[in-house]
Symmetry: D2
Subunit: 255 residues, 4 copies
């Protein structure tokens, strides 16, 4: 993948000042409605960020949600609640250990995709799980969002995703969202070929700038948080608030 | 189903002034994450509105989305685009002719369910279809929303659903949303049995009032619009705006 | 003001089939942050819709919120609650009788303006007022939104405005929102002059189409509702729900 | 102010393990519509968090927005753009140096207040300012939100505030939002006196727990970021993206 020249300039091997973030793990989850990742416009922008991370030594794992059969529900494993099949437990094994989570979504009617909401619901379903410091197991991880669409909704979707991740326990670094949309009305999508051989949106300095800033901020913050966050004052075991119960349908109130 | 006494008082047969709306058709779509409609709390509030409509002579059809295999995507029939199975075309046959659409959703992390977004995406996927007056086929229909949850988000979800329906071509009557949530924090859900034999939320006059007002306003407006809306100035065939193309991924710009 | 040719074609005097909607009243409220209406880009798109309505015989009243000193608060007259000055009661006299309300807002950080929220709060502050049929005094009126910005947020703002109006008692006709935004990143705003003498966004058929459809749908629906809506089942006096009290801070629960 | 016993237990002087965060500065901005801070229910919950921070040695500054005349607009000083008066520059001197920003808002119609949007617009108006590392001057600061209302909207408002702060350059720590709302329908507000002498919402363990966790997470993260964030890859001076111009109305594209 070719990066924007100014994004390229931030990376090794040419840039000897670039931090080495090997040891960090990132997982990218594309919640496109498209069955195949190759048909997704969001995948193209996600890949730019993934490339920057790889170049900084981060180990990157890519998940295309539609490649998997993720069941509806908010329990850790829906096969224990009647589902015939649920690929979530396998995905969770890949998402949980990652220091960095990047959620990509397309826009339909100005909002994140249904597949993105499935992802959020399943992440929410794990929020009853605590780490050994009594915090949500999401503590010490960082999250961001990548949004592409035809004409409207980057900020709306970034709001939804950022809030969900933050509420669950992820840290949201500065400017951890980026995206591309065109002018109001129909038109080509991000990465579509143009007649002159270039690709739609690739000449948009702002999308490239925001993607680059986001990539580095996620890495800087993940590095800073690699040993987790103090559990002084945030240990949920201390509270055992009245009304919490492992059998509750509402995941965040199970502990 | 037992109605709130003041809701009951608006209906026939006892209330001889109640309008007779036989001839109107309504479809209720529950987008609960629950596999079984019987486990859904949203279903309980939906049923109260459906009962009011039935008592006014409206023909009511209930759809529990999870009873069907609705594919992801924004094309009218996703089996033509690679899906193994898609129950949407069959559901569309039931939704399209209905004068009234009521969408019910639970709240997870303060937002509508993923299943609700699937419904919105599939409705959106039909927005390239015009009626014989050149309008979106949703013209002349009315829509509303019913939202239940533990603690937060009725208005957020009603906003999303109402906007989507309106943008597609539904008319939104006054006060066409209702719901129930409890105090911040965990707790019982709408319709859960209480120790004294009553049910959670059933003593909430505001939920009952809003549900009743919503039911009647949907019926009044559907009756008013039963012959459709003038197509002066809104005939999309006149525009054939540059950039529209039947092959476009974006449904509303296919015509 | 010059209309798009296809918008022009829907109007009298040339179009003899155009409905005559004299007798209807519309109020347009621009919630731009700009002190002067003449500096507002949103005003330019609002004017196109106002022109269409005027041409159909509708009496149009334009309010630029920043021309007035509207106090913060949710009471009908904030001078009775400590404010030095409050122009809302005077504005309310113009807004209340209008069959049609069009709210225009710019986008800042992807959302409606603070001035727009002041408008919504003040409209909300009147929701304790009932008409002589026991309904919110907004019944029988119709509402829509016009949104312009640099790069993102039409649908988000339309969602917020449409929901607020609907919840208060306005009817939302089909496709009652329109707007213009450019590609992601900085750039000119709607109506800015271009080097070739044309204006930014004026060549966008979709913005013109949606504005035209919105204008006509608001008029068709206002005409249909000119005698109000039946109060069967929606008379709030019947409920006098426990907990309602004229002294409540929450306007919709004062009756 | 009396804290919840479990919040109290996290603090010095009794808790000798409590971190000492003297040296950190926090600013609390209450965007209540109420003219007087003493009438604001949001102020009561804000004060609990402020108390926790003070007890940890943090220097806390409280701003009640309505005590000041903050002009509408998105320029750093609106008196240079026609406003008669603008207290923002004075407030900015208090907000800018604070390591921690906590925004409090009430809910009206399920959303943040107009005063809250004024705050967001004015913060946005400063986003053209860079620190000496070429980053938004918000880098290295952390933000969170406190939301109270009668019945609905904590998450919606937290979404809006959290996104705005993050997009501007604040870091959002885990679970940096808290709030209180009651059951659907009218009712008392947070902190209202009850007949038994206690106060509404004070017995809600979840509100207390979330407020405590939020307070500590803001402090932990501000401490971690006290020396700022590496500017590798996020130096905006490198980009000087085409289209950026100090005269642009859109603050984030002025540099």
């Amino acid at each position: 993948m070719t990066l924007h020249p100014k994004a390229e300039a931030t990376c090794g091997p040419d840039n000897r000042d670039a931090p080495d973030y090997s040891g960090l793990r990132a997982v990218f989850v594309n919640t496109s409605l498209k069955a195949a990742n190759g048909d997704s416009h969001t995948a193209i922008l996600l890949e730019q960020i993934a490339t920057l991370m790889t170049r900084a030594g981060v180990s990157v794992d890519n998940i295309h949600m539609r490649d998997h059969h993720v069941a509806y529900g908010v329990q850790p494993d829906m096969t224990e609640h009647g589902a015939d099949r649920d690929d979530w437990p396998a995905l969770w094994k890949r998402i949980k250990p990652a220091n960095i989570l990047v959620v990509g979504t397309p826009l339909w009617l100005g909002e994140e995709s249904s597949v993105c909401r499935v992802l959020i619901e399943r992440l929410y379903g794990m929020s009853g799980e605590l780490n050994d410091k009594g915090q949500s197991s999401y503590y010490g991880r960082v999250g961001g969002s990548v949004v592409t669409g035809n004409e409207d909704g980057i900020k709306h979707a970034a709001m939804t995703i950022g809030y969900a991740l933050s509420h669950l326990g992820y840290t949201i670094p500065p400017q951890a969202d980026c995206g591309w949309i065109g002018e109001a009305g129909p038109g080509p999508s991000y990465g579509d070929p143009k007649e002159d051989g270039t690709k739609v949106g690739f000449d948009n300095d702002f999308t490239a700038r925001n993607a680059t800033i986001m990539a580095w901020n996620l890495m800087h913050m993940a590095h800073l948080l690699r040993d987790g966050i103090s559990n002084h004052g945030n240990d949920r075991r201390v509270w055992q608030a009245e009304g919490c119960d492992p059998s509750l349908p509402n995941p965040e109130h199970r502990v």
